[in-house]
């Protein structure tokens, strides 16, 4: 098995000199590899309305919320209360037919178990863009205000982190059709939308699979590696070789036959499938250290929806997405935490974010336009559950430009904390991952032990 390209994560010339190849081997890890943590970076594309997910439940913020949110305000009686001040959208903890008093499922259940951290007022404090594309690019590149950065923040992490395990297929998986910008510039990342269909299998049966009963017989796909060999090291050639390698290795895995553990039930659809495949890859102990998952559809300019928990026939666009996300996160957590290999969630760290929040006031189409501050979520066995950061406030003096939630926590602080507390990065290396990000001030979202 060749590990050629997969040992190092970055082709950015600027960083190459800083990365001694030998540091990628850590004897203790290479033997069993189970000691490395994994970061799962979930991007809710389109700008989730965080104020519709984590909702003021009582006090002054509640009054101000009702006043400004108008017809999109979720009544207290339709929310799942999680502490004296805050509540979750009901679909984070139950289906459309489940009343808010029903026993919590999914994200709500994990919150009750102390496994979920909510970071209020997160986003990009110093650089403003209400453009999806700029804001997503800035966040993924880790350089707010500059989208000409040649590589993504995860690419840079892989390049500078010490002691990463060797990887059989790839140290980082991007679950997407096209490579996410957080992995820009990475020659090590494998981007796949669905691992089980990742095989070149359309030839006539006589040459589609190697027939071991025929001496010398070799399937056509076995030629791909040689067909991309030679001719230099252009990005296209490198990508083709990595593809040929990854195809051969993934072909040996049985994705269809995978059985989740702990009674985990992944929701149907792409998101659930991707989390299930990711859990399987992590259990295979093949050196995966990072994964990205994209979940879109949050650009709710119209018909965002107000939930009616207990009414199974009520259509709630936003609620459907919250439920799918919550179920996928719960299944992933359950599957890994109840693994026969032990509680693997003790070394898996999920961070959920979006490019910006949405306007506090709804628009005339019962939707919300692009805003600013938002919430982030973290999930894992080493996450300190509860509220983190500070809610920026809904009073006129606190609103950003008089219309949006402000930002009180730079999203990079949360990612930086995950890297330092869990992913083996030294604080001094943060500058290489998040250039010009300023002083590191962790919120305590992750436990470092």
């Amino acid at each position: 098995m060749r590990r050629r390209a997969f040992l190092q994560g970055c082709c950015a010339a600027a960083l190459a000199g800083a990365v001694p190849l030998t540091t990628f081997w850590r004897p203790a890890a290479a033997a069993g590899r189970t000691s490395n943590d994994v970061i799962v970076y979930v991007f809710l594309r389109g700008g989730i309305d965080g104020l519709h997910l984590v909702v003021p439940y009582a006090g002054a913020e509640r009054s101000q919320y009702e006043l400004l949110r108008d017809n999109l305000a979720i009544p207290e009686s339709n929310l799942r209360q999680i502490n004296s001040q805050w509540a979750l959208h009901p679909r984070a903890g139950g289906g459309p037919g489940d009343g808010v008093g029903s026993s919590p499922k999914w994200l709500h259940r994990l919150w009750d178990e102390g496994r979920v951290a909510i970071v209020q007022g997160s986003g990009m404090p110093q650089h403003l863009s209400r453009s999806h594309f700029d804001a997503q690019a800035w966040i993924d590149l880790g350089t707010p205000g500059d989208k000409s950065t040649p590589d993504g923040w995860l690419t840079r992490y892989l390049a500078v982190a010490d002691g990463l395990p060797s990887a059989d297929i790839a140290p980082v998986f991007g679950f997407a059709d096209t490579r996410p910008m957080s992995l820009m510039g990475s020659s090590a990342a494998l981007t796949v939308a669905s691992p089980e269909s990742f095989r070149v299998d359309g030839f006539h049966w006589s040459w589609n699979e190697t027939n071991p009963d025929l001496a010398g017989h070799q399937a056509a796909h076995r030629r791909l590696d040689a067909l991309w060999s030679g001719g230099g090291a252009s990005p296209l050639l490198q990508a083709g070789r990595d593809t040929a390698d990854a195809l051969e290795q993934m072909r040996g895995m049985d994705f269809d036959g995978y059985l989740p553990e702990g009674g985990a039930s992944y929701p149907g659809g792409t998101l659930g499938d991707q989390f299930r495949s990711l859990a399987q890859l992590i259990k295979q102990d093949m050196g995966i250290v990072a994964a990205t998952v994209d979940y879109g559809g949050w650009d709710t300019h119209a018909g965002q929806g107000v939930p009616q928990p207990g009414n199974a026939n009520h259509y709630d666009y936003y609620g459907i997405r919250v439920e799918e996300l919550s179920r996928a996160l719960d299944a992933f957590y359950t599957d890994l935490s109840a693994s026969s290999q032990g509680n693997l969630m003790d070394r898996v760290n999920v961070v959920v974010l979006s490019e910006f929040g949405r306007k506090v006031r709804p628009n005339d189409a019962s939707g919300t336009d692009h805003g600013h501050g938002n919430v982030m979520l973290a999930l894992g066995g080493r996450v300190n559950g509860g509220m983190h950061g500070s809610f920026p406030g809904l009073d006129a003096g606190s609103l950003f430009e008089g219309q949006d939630l402000a930002t009180t926590t730079d999203y990079r602080q949360v990612l930086a904390e995950a890297l330092v507390s869990r992913m083996g990065l030294a604080p001094a290396q943060l500058e290489a991952v998040f250039p010009e990000f300023g002083s590191y001030s962790p919120l305590g979202v992750f436990s470092s032990s």
């Binding site: 594309r45 389109g46 650089h127 403003l128 863009s129 209400r130 453009s131 594309f133 700029d134 991007g174 059709d177 096209t178 490579r179 820009m184 990342a189 494998l190 981007t191 796949v192 939308a193 669905s194 269909s197 990742f198 095989r199 070149v200 299998d201 359309g202 030839f203 006539h204 006589s206 589609n208 025929l214 010398g216 017989h217 056509a220 030629r223 791909l224 040689a226 067909l227 991309w228 060999s229 030679g230 001719g231 990005p235 296209l236 990508a239 083709g240 593809t243 990854a246 195809l247 879109g296 650009d299 300019h301 119209a302 709804p362 628009n363 005339d364 189409a365 939707g367 336009d369 692009h370």
Partner: protein
């Protein structure tokens, strides 16, 4: 030369005097055929032998031939495309001639399949890219679909996508940008996609206005976040050199009331207010001053406010730069030379009111030294790889909208898995156009998966979509020519046309020959279509199937990716 069907190709191949096939490619790679190949591979969906012949017949030197070819391609309406029209008619599509009100009545309000108009638009798009003689026009049509991207398979948009393709994008693909923008702004698909149908007084919706400035015209380089009205300096055309959120909000207000006849309860309760067509609904228009790009929208009122705002955007130099950079990226290089972008932007700007504005810009770019010298590099994206595979194998296809397990269901499913399915990009920035976004293992692996299947797909009459066997027999009429080496070289010439790395050629020959000598003739005609089992002699084991697999492997070569 008439090259509207695959049939003429076979005639050309059989002709003993044909330049391409009378010699081995090493002998025929003269500078002029290199030039022809470069132009056609870059500006069309793939150079076929008859395309190269035609190009070479257009004059006595490269410059003359390029000019004559551009004259022909850019006068797209003058280029006879009856072969394609016949194929479109024969395919029997049901929705492509329906008006917007018919689409609305049948596919939104009625019981007809909501997704059929999108599915047939995709089928026709493949047919056109493969067979149309108006290749530059089709390439630019794809460009504009990416530029004014809508999520074509969305529940609400799929029923009206026919109108978007036929009446909005195609008429203006080589025409005038301002006119195309007008058509986009009034199109049912875009009004739904970017929510302007809900943009009304008192609660405006900024989605369309923001993307209009950021993606469709000025570009995000001209975005000054946080600037207030009047803070952005004016250029020599008296327009602010960029825009801010304040401009977005006021442009959104200009567009209040631009909506569709959707049967909204605030509209009169009559059928003509529920037919899906554009309407400026004055009741929803927000009055009052608007200030756009440093200028009050003075004078015009109501619907004319947005017209003036669009004029400002289309005459703006930033729009010229932004659009020309994108067109140069499509046709020349992922990182196009700034000098070319600037000179093209000048042509764009000078002609912003000309009916053939886009054609002039395309001519400028395709005549430029940067294009002619062929210094840039582009790779084929999955759609282009698929179309080139069809074109270069003289495929006989009639794409059908389908969701089932027939050949088109199989093919289109695999095509979709590449991440490049027609009209399926979810966000309004359109499919990316740089190699780094199309060289992930996911895209490449899924594309190879598609190509491996394409060579095997056959129709109800058991005819393969790709005419690999017929073309091989016609190109190598003497069985003695059909050695592993002869077969591989024939298909390398046909599919790539340029030398490929020798190690790759040997690998292909090794696969084709198995245990036979490279120059020993192989029997490609016994046991058709698939060949026969032969466990003792792999060189005779399912040889026709192995030939199809070898052709698919050639389509997966790095050399085939180069556009």
């Amino acid at each position: 030369m008439d090259s509207n069907t695959g049939g003429t190709m076979r005639d050309a191949v059989q002709g003993s005097g044909d330049r391409i096939f009378s010699d081995r490619y090493e002998d025929s790679s003269s500078a002029s055929s290199d030039f022809a190949l470069r132009v056609l591979e870059r500006a069309t969906y793939g150079a076929r032998p008859e395309d190269l012949d035609h190009f070479l017949s257009l004059g006595s030197n490269d410059q003359q031939r390029l000019n004559a070819w551009l004259d022909e391609q850019l006068d797209w309406q003058g280029l006879d495309d009856s072969g394609l029209e016949q194929r479109l008619a024969a395919a029997g599509y049901l929705t492509l001639d329906k008006t917007i009100t018919e689409l609305w009545a049948d596919h939104v309000q009625g019981d007809a399949d909501r997704y059929l108009p999108a599915a047939e638009t995709e089928a026709a798009r493949i047919l056109r890219a493969v067979y149309s003689r108006r290749q530059v026009y089709e390439v630019m049509t794809e460009f504009w679909h990416d530029h004014f991207s809508v999520a074509g398979w969305d529940f609400s948009i799929a029923p009206v996508l026919v109108q978007y393709d036929r009446d909005v994008i195609r008429p203006h693909a080589l025409g005038n940008f301002r006119e195309m923008l007008e058509a986009v702004a009034r199109s049912t698909a875009m009004l739904i996609y970017l929510d302007n149908k809900d943009n009304r007084a008192g609660g405006y919706n900024e989605n369309w206005a923001r993307e209009l400035m950021e993606l469709h015209t000025l570009g995000s380089d001209a975005y000054y976040p946080g600037a207030a009205h009047g803070e952005i300096p004016l250029g020599d055309d008296d327009l602010a050199i960029g825009y801010s959120d304040a401009d977005v909000y006021d442009v959104a207000r200009c567009f209040t009331g631009w909506t569709i006849r959707s049967g909204h309860w605030e509209m009169p309760d009559t059928p003509e207010y529920d037919n899906g067509d554009f309407i400026f609904f004055v009741n929803w228009h927000e009055g009052g001053n608007k200030y756009v790009l440093g200028n009050f929208i003075f004078g015009p009122t109501d619907q004319m406010e947005a017209e003036l705002a669009m004029d400002y955007l289309c005459m703006h130099r930033q729009t010229a730069r932004h659009l020309c950079e994108k067109i140069c990226r499509r046709l020349v290089d992922d990182e196009p030379p700034q000098s070319l972008v600037e000179s093209a932007a000048q042509v764009w700007h000078d002609n912003w009111q000309a009916g053939d504005q886009v054609a002039k810009v395309v001519r400028h770019i395709l005549s430029s030294a940067d294009f002619v010298d062929g210094t840039g590099t582009k790779i084929r994206r999955p759609f282009e790889l698929m179309c080139a595979a069809f074109r270069k194998t003289a495929a006989e296809i009639e794409p059908q909208p389908t969701g089932g397990w027939d050949p088109w269901g199989d093919l289109l499913y695999r095509f979709r898995q590449t991440g490049h399915g027609c009209f399926r990009w979810p966000s309004p920035d359109g499919y990316p156009d740089t190699a780094d976004r199309w060289t992930s293992a996911s895209v490449m692996g899924q594309t190879w998966r598609l190509l491996s299947r394409m060579v095997e797909l056959d129709d109800d009459s058991d005819r393969f979509l790709l005419c690999i066997h017929q073309e091989t027999v016609a190109g190598l009429p003497d069985p003695a020519q059909r050695s592993a080496e002869g077969l591989v070289d024939f298909w390398l010439e046909r599919l790539v046309g340029r030398p490929v790395a020798s190690g790759r050629r040997s690998e292909l020959i090794d696969f084709m020959r198995q245990n036979a000598a490279a120059d020993a003739p192989l029997d490609i005609t016994s046991g058709l279509p698939d060949g026969d089992w032969n466990s003792g002699n792999l060189s005779a084991h399912y040889t026709p199937s192995r030939l199809r697999a070898a052709v698919a492997l050639i389509m997966m070569l790095p050399e085939f990716y180069q556009r």
